[in-house]
Structures are given as C-alpha cells and as structure tokens.
Symmetry: C2
Subunit: 127 residues, 2 copies
Amino acid sequence: MNKHIKPTESELEILGILWEKGASTVREVHEILEQSKEAGYTTTLKLMQIMHEKGLLTRDASAKTHIYEAAVSRENTQQQLLNKMIDTVYKGSATQLVMQALGHHRSSPAELEQIRRYLNEMEKKQS
Amino acid sequence: MNKHIKPTESELEILGILWEKGASTVREVHEILEQSKEAGYTTTLKLMQIMHEKGLLTRDASAKTHIYEAAVSRENTQQQLLNKMIDTVYKGSATQLVMQALGHHRSSPAELEQIRRYLNEMEKKQS
DNA sequence: CCTGTTGTACGAATATCTTCGTAAACAAAT
DNA sequence: ATTTGTTTACGAAGATATTCGTACAACAGG
C-alpha cells in the first residue's frame, strides 16, 4: 500500500514542522518556517494548499482557520528517501551509507552504545 | 573549498553512471540510462551538456565524439546529500538514520562486523 | 562525390516548483 | 455600520528542470 511519495525540498520543510508540532494552522507553520527561511505568508499558504491537493496533508476546514496535518508518516517518508539515496548514490550499499554517517557526524557514547545494541539484535535474528 | 553541489534527480542518475564507468561518451551513458528509464538520446545529450555548463562534468572535446567525466567526487556528493537528509528528515540525528538503514537493508554478517569494528574505532578516538 | 550514420548544437515546448499580488470572506473592534 | 486585521482563494509571473525536434558537421563506405 505504500504510495509513491516525492515531496519537494520546500514541502519537506513543511512536513518536518508538522511532524514535530502535529496539526497546525498555516500561520503557525509559517512562523516557524520564517526563522530559517525568507518567505511570504501566502507562499506558505499556497504550498500547503498544493500539498493538500497532492494528498501530502489532510485539512480540517470546518472552522474559518483551517487546520493542516501531515498525511504521510515520517517513517514512511524517511524510508522512501533513504532507499532512493542508497540506490542512486551508494551503489545500493547501506553499509557504506552507515559508515559515512557515523564518520562525519559526531555521536555521543550513549548513541554509539545504542547502535551497538542494535547490531547485536540484528545478528541474533540472522541465524 | 567545498562547492555547493545540488544535482537534480536526473543529473544524479548520470553522475552515478559516470562514477561507475569512469569517462564515457554520451551514447554509453545513454545506453545504460535507457535500461532503467525511458528517454531519447538528445535528452541525455542535453542533460550532460547542461551538467558540463554547471561544472558537474568535465569534457574532452578534442575528438568528434566528446568524452565526459564526473567533475565532482562521489564522496563529496554523498556527504552533501547525507547532511541535508539528516538535517531535514531525521531532525539532525545521524543515529536514527543509521538505525533505520540497518533495519531495512539486510546486511551480511561480514558487513555487520565491519560496522562493529568501525564503532570501536570511533569510541577509541572519543577519549 | 554521394549517401547514410553518428554526433553535437540550438532552440523551443512542456512540465513542475516557487513566489507573491490581489480579491473576497469573515470576524472583531470601534 | 464602517473599519481593521486575519484568513483563504485564485491566478499569474518567474525560475528551473525535462524533453525532444531540427539542423548542421564529420566521417565512413561505396
């Protein structure tokens, strides 16, 4: 049942905000967006309307001020983008991606430990 | 001196082919591209010409048939895309990306071992 | 030399994304 | 009731990406 999700860069930013905040109005999203980006209010509005048309967002239009919510899950979207990336840029090798990610992004000892435990789990299941 | 590389989806496909094959003609690239995608020859040509203008490819035009080569390294490009992805889709957590990559892409025991060794290295350096 | 093949160059049509101006609907305040 | 502010709707302009038709140059075989 997995849909072919392909959000653009701008759409991804909006999705990120909605995943964090949950259901929100255009203004709420716009105010967060403004902190990292220059954009007019109607631009954000239009984007979110289009995302709604595409099925990326749901909206509750019962009140005057509409409430939008992400219609695609963060996990699903992450997976889609990850797969494509591994495929086109890492020759299909997830291992390479993992090592590069570990190499360039400082992880805390606790995180490293978390990953180690995860690796152990993986190996148990492999039998 | 890292340039701001931002290849489009189509450009990425072509880069992937050139990284694998090394320097190639348009026809060679096109023939590989055709296996996974519907496209005319002149479309591929135009794309590669534009990529050359953008500085994504170098070309040797001394012979009638031009030879193109990737002008950006796979590693550099991977890093750029990885950074952006961790940032926008994984809330900045490389750890989460790593675990999702491990979870959904079966890795061989040898690969898991490789990652484990890499983790050990990381922890030593952290002292 | 003519002809068919292969290649590049150019330009244009199409699609998609991004941005925002303007208008209309609505509510709250004066 | 008029004004003011907030919101959605609409449409269009600008930017970028994608696709390909057509023309022209180089070359190979006859």
